[in-house]
Symmetry: none
Subunit: 413 residues, 2 copies
């Protein structure tokens, strides 16, 4: 099956946003063994969208559109696709109910604009939208299969995973199964060196390295006829990779460092306290993205000012004066203080200079100290990160979570 | 002049990277007053690229290609464009010299593959590449203007700024200027209703609504002859919009709620303390993305457990037992506690149910209470948000920042 992705939105043609929807869909389709030969971006303009559809049906048999399902007058993808296929729009009651409930929950009135979102092309399969009001549709038509999705990634991605992927899997004789090995603390080129022979001899399964946000992943992808067991091909390769990379492998598939650390804490019933300075609450934020973390996350202290470090964590003014807020001594006192002033069994502390200002020759922007404390005491480590303020916060937060993970691995009793 | 951008690269169709080149070029072209009506992405395949060019010349008179200028066998954009236009390739000596010097500097031998990069279509204008070996070309042809650029942004962007922009400015008599009005607290369709007549009568400047992450934006875009003042057209429309939407307008262009709130706090030298439960540190994280915030951000307390709420904020166990952790009473005691247990002049507190578990009939997932406290006392507000755990955290954090912004607006003394 050959696919073309048509993304609709003038904001794309003005360069206000990058076309990450097409990237996301392309990535998933390649895992499903579906070829994507073209992406097209067109503005919120009926005639030009009709022209784009006309071009697309000549070179693809699966056409996925993104964007243009909103309530406003220039949202016209669904109407235009319906016109292109000669289908009339009909009110879809369940979608209308969903929209009304959506507004009732938030105590707002449903506007006519939003009611229009429940009009679906005759004979189409609705795609429920848990995170928004606009449903998508799947249309099986003599001109091809048309899948119409909204633009916002928060809405598009769950709709794609829950409804579109299962639909597409039905259309193919092969299944493609992927497993992602997640690695932290080793650079991409180093990882590639360590598994080079595996990368060279790869065929089925294939192994694809990919750099993520601070971590590195190896995607193992096996292609088998329906009914055959893809994991018989994947598992041996996974074992080899894990042997080579050891503790640097922190998880698989949709694991994140936050999820893995949370799992370890919950399994061992260990309560955690955080003391953050330069990461400014980002570690707390990442951990609290994990459902159930409240069982083990006692508190997080964002001690941005020196007063906060002294009053909330008992860091001594002497330490702050002699070694500075960004020092191993302060980091360790922060961790010990978080432990002492909470009900936690283990504490993690981070202090550093996120920039752009505040750096010196001896303490440059990107310098970060991290400490871990438990009943056995505290220890710290020094790190220097590159990038702008946000990047330094991000990589510092992930590195701190990884330190905690390695600490829990080492102290497994 | 109407432009189509054709990006060449199988890695784009596999979703390994997003098409940021097209975004960059589109942004710059809109500033230059050149319409971009289509983006096309095609793989490293000669026939499909020829087909894409064939489609493009029918709907655009300026065609910019990105990618496929590398030394490898599947880099074939320049050759394919030349074939499409019936132009032969000729060795361009200055480019060849540049390539040789590039390799000498890095002490490597020039390969035949790299020498091929100096072959340019007959009659084309070379685009020097200071950051790489592959030159670009500008071709003025009866089929249109063709501009061929390499894929890596580090190479493409300086080439675009130094050679392409001056070339295009010569071709256009107009410039386009945009201003983005940022709105929070009113839904997209409601915003449209409030400015419907402006949207209907829009011509120059144009007004385009766009939904962001929780906020809504209106982009005002004016097109003027070179030398004329675009703001003479933009400013009156901006004033009208601000009159209609009032305090819901929180900023312009690249403002964020965090930046705006930080600016207000810093200007008035007001210190802030945060008490977060369901947002789990996300508000602290957003605020600490703003350089200089340390001047006014005293501390953030992520009080996830009831113990933390009592010990760090002095929330009474009686309140927690009678009204629950998610209640206006608890929210207000959290805010007052954050104020009392810090050096802050104003405190913001958030408590709610982010889900997926923990919801009840009377207190569903998405229920969030927020409170603000200052020397005059505390008050709270109730909110119900839709979406998954992350989305509820995000929208709650933004809504809380907006409450603080409105509080500071009302209490401007």
């Amino acid at each position: 099956m050959d696919c073309e992705i048509i993304s609709v939105g003038t904001e794309l043609l003005l360069g206000q946003i990058a076309n990450t929807d097409a990237q996301y869909i392309s990535q998933r389709l390649s895992e499903l063994g579906i070829n994507v030969y073209y992406h097209t971006v067109v503005g919120d303009n009926k005639q030009r969208l009709l022209d784009a559809l006309d071009v697309a049906v000549k070179r693809a048999d699966l056409i996925i559109t993104t964007g243009g399902l909103g309530p406003t007058v220039d949202d016209l993808t669904k109407e235009t696709v319906a016109e292109f296929l000669g289908l009339e729009l009909q009110m879809h009651e369940p979608s209308l109910q969903h929209i009304k409930e959506h507004f009732n929950r938030t105590g707002r009135q449903v506007s006519d604009n939003n009611i229009k979102q429940a009009l679906l092309p005759k004979g189409s399969i609705p795609i429920p939208n848990p995170n928004g009001t606009a449903p998508g549709v799947i249309i099986e038509h003599e001109k091809g299969i048309f899948i119409v999705l909204p633009g916002p990634p928060l809405e598009l991605q769950p709709m794609f995973e829950e409804t579109v992927v299962p639909f597409l899997q039905k259309c193919s004789d092969y299944t493609i199964v992927s497993k992602v090995i997640r690695i932290f603390g080793i650079g991409e080129s180093k990882v590639e060196e360590m598994v080079k022979d595996l990368l060279d001899e790869q065929d089925n399964p294939t192994i694809a390295p990919l750099v993520g946000h601070g971590d590195v992943t190896l995607r193992i992808t096996a292609r088998v006829r329906k009914g055959e067991d893809a994991y018989a091909l994947i598992n041996p390769v996974e074992r080899q990779i894990k042997q080579r990379l050891g503790d640097a492998v922190y998880g698989v598939d949709d694991d994140t460092l936050s999820k893995v650390v949370s799992r370890m804490l919950i399994e061992r019933e260990l309560k955690l306290a955080l003391a953050e300075s330069c990461t400014g609450g980002l570690i707390s934020d990442k951990l609290t993205d994990v459902p159930g973390i409240s069982m083990v996350f006692d508190r997080g202290l964002v001690t941005y000012s020196n007063e906060a470090k002294m009053e909330l964590l008992g860091v001594s003014s002497d330490t702050l004066n002699r070694f500075g807020a960004v020092s191993p001594q302060t980091a360790e006192e922060m961790a010990l203080g978080a432990l002492a002033h909470s009900h936690a069994d283990v504490a993690l502390a981070v202090t550093g200079i996120a920039g752009p200002d505040g750096g010196t020759l001896s303490k440059p922007v990107g310098l970060v100290y991290m400490a871990i404390a438990d009943s056995y005491g505290a220890y710290s480590s020094k790190h220097v990160f590159n990038g702008d303020r946000r990047r330094i916060k991000e990589i510092a937060a992930l590195t701190a979570l990884n330190l905690l993970r390695l600490h829990l691995l080492k102290n497994n009793d």
